[in-house]
Subunit: 254 residues, 2 copies
DNA sequence: TCAAAAGTGTTGAATGTACACCCATGG
DNA sequence: CCATGGGTGTACATTCAACACTTTTGA
């Protein structure tokens, strides 16, 4: 069935998932503690080898479920591919990284190959450049993969509706603002943000409902204007959550 | 040496290169005519199988040189990864696509596995949506890969200094504007563009020299403010040509 | 002197930013 | 009534967009 030139290499391929959420106004990443060598005991991104006949997205969802008990409830997109040389002591391994952005989802529990699974503030795992050794080292080149995923997320908040993928089904403008503030690490003016968010086409869809029960005036509830899709087939066609926003919500200049 | 779980698949891996340039005020892509099955005779992106012990960028440069005689003179960055299922009649194949952006470079000549190699206007190969069958079909899923590469390029012109990678070592503001016009397919006001380009930090570096010989007033010559780097190691650290521009050069609204 | 291309000035519109102020609810 | 958070009005600054106009060259 598989016929390739005799000179071609075939490589073991893994998928790794950078699963991000905002909890307690903090950007957090889902990590596992490795239960097997190499890097046994170290923190790592959930992931593992692609099985025969399996597609990449399938493998990413399977590994995530196996190791953390989480079924992708949010936006899954390919991040980039790493390797194959110099990243695994066992030899050449190609790794395709995925970015999962989701509202804070339910219980995580350690599964196969993982001694533990849980959320960690990105700031505690990735030392912001300038500071010394931030915290526990991640296995393999996962620190770099995580950094790439966070950077991609920060950029995409400006130019796409990705921030809505961090929010639950229905959410307020304040919920959305807290996502921007947590991911960018800045404070935004609630009043101007509200106008900008509601005035940007393709970001919010009104529901007509409002919050209730909290203190203060009830807030209008919105849904994401663009569907949060699983990366997979040729999903780029329709205007999904990654489509360019016009005008963008630019980060305040430093 | 290579030790992977017995259940893991190993996959044949190819690299494909979307090489773009601007020639005759038109965005063009480097294509080869396949000399071997499958898809013999069809147009395809240059590319091929990764060899044992080889890294991805190395393989991309090698295949490009072998099939087209071109040595990457410009900006090479990873585009994304496709597959492994449903894209090659021979079976599962993973393909890592690269984007090469370069000034119009020298002679191209067909090499191994290629009956011909040459530049083709993107518009002639990728039918703009809305029109029917645009032109010759590309082999495999290369039409989609090309579309992704073009889309990425269009976006990156807005938010990074990537346009300078289309230009020769020294270039004028008009040269740069023609890149934007060709890639976006729009006309830009030369006077406002000039102000915007020279006023955007991180885009241009003055040389003090000017053009001469042409008709009209000589134009100031610039160099790219940010180095055009080969994708490869951890090259993202320094502010290279892909670093975010602030403020961006936004496309005119449709 | 003229044509051509480069580059600057200017003006009204649109957008961003800071903050005063009003609105709607729970206690 | 007050405290609290949601949301609008407004004024000023900045940027954008269109285009008149000046500059500098070759013919």
């Amino acid at each position: 069935m598989t016929v390739v030139p005799p000179t071609a290499a075939t490589l073991p391929v893994t998928v790794d998932v950078v699963a991000l959420t905002v909890r307690d106004d903090t950007l957090q990443v889902l990590l596992v503690e490795r239960a097997v060598e190499p890097h046994r005991g170290a923190l790592a991104l959930p992931g593992g080898f692609v099985l025969p006949g399996e597609d990449l997205v399938t493998a990413a969802a399977r590994e995530l479920a196996e190791e953390t008990g989480v079924t992708p409830p949010g936006h899954l997109e390919q991040l980039r591919t790493y390797g194959p040389l110099g990243r695994d002591p066992r030899g050449p391994v190609l790794s395709v990284a995925y970015l999962l952005v989701a509202p804070h989802f339910g219980v995580v529990e350690a599964g196969s190959d993982a001694a533990a699974a849980g959320w960690h503030p990105v700031a505690a795992v990735l030392p912001a450049d300038g500071e010394g050794a931030g915290a526990a080292r991640l296995a393999f080149d996962h620190a770099r993969i995580l950094a790439d995923g966070v950077e991609r997320t920060r950029s995409k908040l400006e130019y796409s509706a990705l921030a809505t993928a961090f929010c639950a089904d229905e959410f307020t403008v304040t919920d959305l603002r807290r996502v921007y503030e947590a991911v960018w690490g800045v404070r935004l003016d609630p009043r101007n943000f509200s106008r900008k968010a509601t005035g940007t086409p393709g970001l919010l869809r009104e529901t007509g409902r409002t919050t209730s029960g909290g203190t203060g005036r009830p807030a209008a509830l919105y849904r994401a204007a663009r569907p949060v899709v699983r990366a997979g087939g040729l999903a780029d066609a329709a205007a999904d959550v990654t489509a360019l926003l016009n005008p963008p919500l630019l980060r305040p200049a430093p």
